[in-house]
Symmetry: C2
Subunit: 156 residues, 2 copies
């Protein structure tokens, strides 16, 4: 299967549409239309094009974890034992809701995750009872985020 994904051509109007909708997914199409000076139907067509190109992969309401009491964000580097099925480890990590991201990485660690916890105690508990207990995990190193200064999508 030749993945013949055409290179997407995005003009200034598309950019304005994307900027509006990546800032607020509920921005009315007609409002964007007024703003860029073409009809709502035209915006609608362009949106279909952008969705078909998979450039837009969906939309989400954003939950603020702090309001739920999650005040500690941590990055955890994970060392795996040599002969281990990494897919099983990923599967186990997926079952831990506090794990938000998980990457195979270059460097010393085999796996790198981003994780939320209520506080440092909870973090320790998660590491000891959830992460370290996964078969194949030999050791972890934690990097706690003291403050997040940037959090955004790629600019369009």
């Amino acid at each position: 299967m030749k993945s013949k994904t055409k290179p997407i051509i995005i003009d200034g109007i598309d950019k304005k549409i994307l900027r509006a909708l990546t800032t607020d997914a509920r921005t009315p199409i007609l409002e964007i239309a007024r703003h860029v000076g073409i009809s709502g139907a035209a915006i609608h067509q362009r949106l279909r094009k952008l969705e078909k190109s998979k450039l837009i992969s969906g939309s989400q309401f954003i939950i603020d974890p702090k309001v739920l009491g999650y005040s500690t964000m941590t990055f955890v580097g994970i060392y795996l034992e040599k002969a281990v099925n990494t897919e099983d480890v990923i599967r186990a990590l997926k079952k831990i809701p506090e794990v938000l991201e998980c990457h195979y990485t270059t460097g010393d660690w085999n796996i790198f995750i981003k994780m939320l916890a209520y506080n440092n105690n909870h973090l320790m508990q998660l590491l000891n009872t959830k992460i370290q207990t996964i078969v194949g995990v030999s050791r972890t190193e934690s990097i706690i985020s003291l403050d997040q200064q940037i959090n955004r999508q790629i600019r369009i």
Copy 2:
């Protein structure tokens, strides 16, 4: 100012609303209403409550960076020189669009960032011409994400 944010009480209906809207920000209120068995107006009221509590901090269309050609995601640990104004460094990082996240962290690094690049060459270029040139940055260590297996919000 005592930040007297009441602990939010979220019942099962709120959870269903949030689950629908964090999956697809454009889910019609009436559809959710039919699903949970109360009126649209009631869903609307609850949404106002959730927004007022700041648990919902907004909504976004999600852009897939891969479609734009960004195939390399990298975490970069940054060492700063001793007597440096970290705020200036943050300010400089904010101006680099490829930087998506930026954290003050515990551990060896002072600052930890998540970054996109088109490829390894572009990554090198970004490091050499954008990151390393920031006044106060002494050294960086890069961890390249070979594959991202998990990417999600906190579960509700």
